[in-house]
């Protein structure tokens, strides 16, 4: 066998092995995610409004109650110690900008719609990292087989 042939067969072998391993990964993911039901609360999103310390508590209560009645809003939670109002909503039915506009801006109360900075968004709870290669591949395969 010439050196040229040796290189050729080695290259083919390595390519085949690589292809086989990648195909194995795809099949493994496909088998595991096939028929997987949607996650609970898949469209649930949290949003937060930060009130100033001087804000009238009665107005805040009013706002909390009013937000609670909006379509798509699932629950509300007010932390009086930090003057923050958190609410959970279905992001298919509602969005935080509209809620802030209709409930806070119109009342002329001193408050801020909390937004996460890009730097902070890049951090976060360590229990999850769906942006990894495997995470993205799983999402892609899942969308194909389901």
């Amino acid at each position: 066998m010439t050196i040229k042939k040796g290189i050729k067969y080695t290259a083919i072998s390595l390519f085949s092995l690589g292809f086989l391993l990648f195909a194995t990964l795809i099949v493994h993911i496909a088998v595991m995610v096939k028929g997987k039901k949607p996650l609970a609360s898949e469209h649930t999103q949290l949003a937060r409004i930060d009130f100033s310390a001087a804000a009238d508590p009665r107005t805040i209560t009013e706002i909390e109650q009013s937000i609670g009645t909006l379509p798509g809003v699932q629950s509300t939670y007010y932390n009086p110690a930090t003057h923050t109002l958190v609410y959970a909503f279905n992001n298919k039915l509602q969005n935080a900008a509209e809620v802030y506009q209709s409930q806070v801006t119109s009342r002329n109360i001193d408050a801020l719609k909390y937004t996460v900075s890009a730097a902070d968004a890049a951090k976060g709870c360590p229990a999850m990292d769906n942006n990894s290669f495997y995470g993205r591949l799983t999402k892609t395969v899942s969308s194909i087989v389901n």
Binding site: M32, A40, V116, D120, C125, M128, N130
Partner: protein, 207 residues
């Protein structure tokens, strides 16, 4: 195409075919007849509590009941109880300015698609607590607590300047979980056990 190329192609396809057949037929096969799920008195108590706290406690943790948030699907009663407490805890944490820096994903959309950071965290956190409370294996698939809570081993946690959680922040976190459980009328004895469980990993997070 030459005869030699045909031969090579045939060998390549045969190898791949055998590999795929072997893998899809064995190693990835889902378990159709699983062993009974592990449980503990605490997991049973949580399952019993979420079903209205009536009748005997034993066996209620792993009992499959309707998932109120996912119509048509079943869920272990113990897991549902844990997910309910975790869900409320995440709201309390999101409203806690001292902890928000650790959980920005709670209040931010996560890229394309509609799945949110809240949802991912809810599942992951629930998996972790379920595994710890029930002793079931393979539920939580994330990083170890020590690796996950150190910026040098996981760059999404903290920053180069603040690499690990402080003891005060960890206490605040457990306090928020306890507040959430209290607001859901979880008995103090159960909250105490959950607190003990959370503190059992403190050494891996604050060191």
């Amino acid at each position: 195409m030459t005869k030699r190329t045909n031969k090579l192609l045939f060998i390549l396809l045969a190898v791949c075919g055998i590999g795929l057949w072997t893998i899809s037929g064995s190693s990835c096969k889902k378990d159709k007849d699983p062993m009974p799920l592990a449980t503990t008195p605490l997991y049973d108590t949580l399952g019993w509590f979420i079903q209205g706290a009536t009748g005997p406690v034993a066996g209620n943790g792993t009992k499959m009941i309707d998932d109120p948030d996912n119509p048509g699907q079943k869920i272990q009663a113990g897991r549902l109880a844990i997910r309910t407490v975790v869900g409320k805890s995440l709201m309390v944490i999101a409203g806690d300015t001292a902890l928000a820096e650790y959980f920005p994903v709670l209040l931010a959309e996560v890229g394309a698609g509609n799945t949110t950071g809240y949802n991912n965290l809810l599942q992951s956190f629930t998996d972790f607590v379920q595994q710890a409370v029930s002793t079931q294996t393979g539920v939580y698939k994330g990083k170890s607590m020590r690796d996950a809570h150190n910026n040098t081993t996981y760059n999404r946690f903290g920053s180069a300047a603040v690499q690990k959680s402080t003891a005060a922040d960890f206490d605040q976190f457990v306090g928020d979980v306890a507040s959430a459980a209290t607001s859901l009328n979880v008995p103090n004895s159960v909250i105490g056990q959950l607190g003990t469980l959370l503190y059992s990993v403190k050494g891996d997070i604050v060191y």
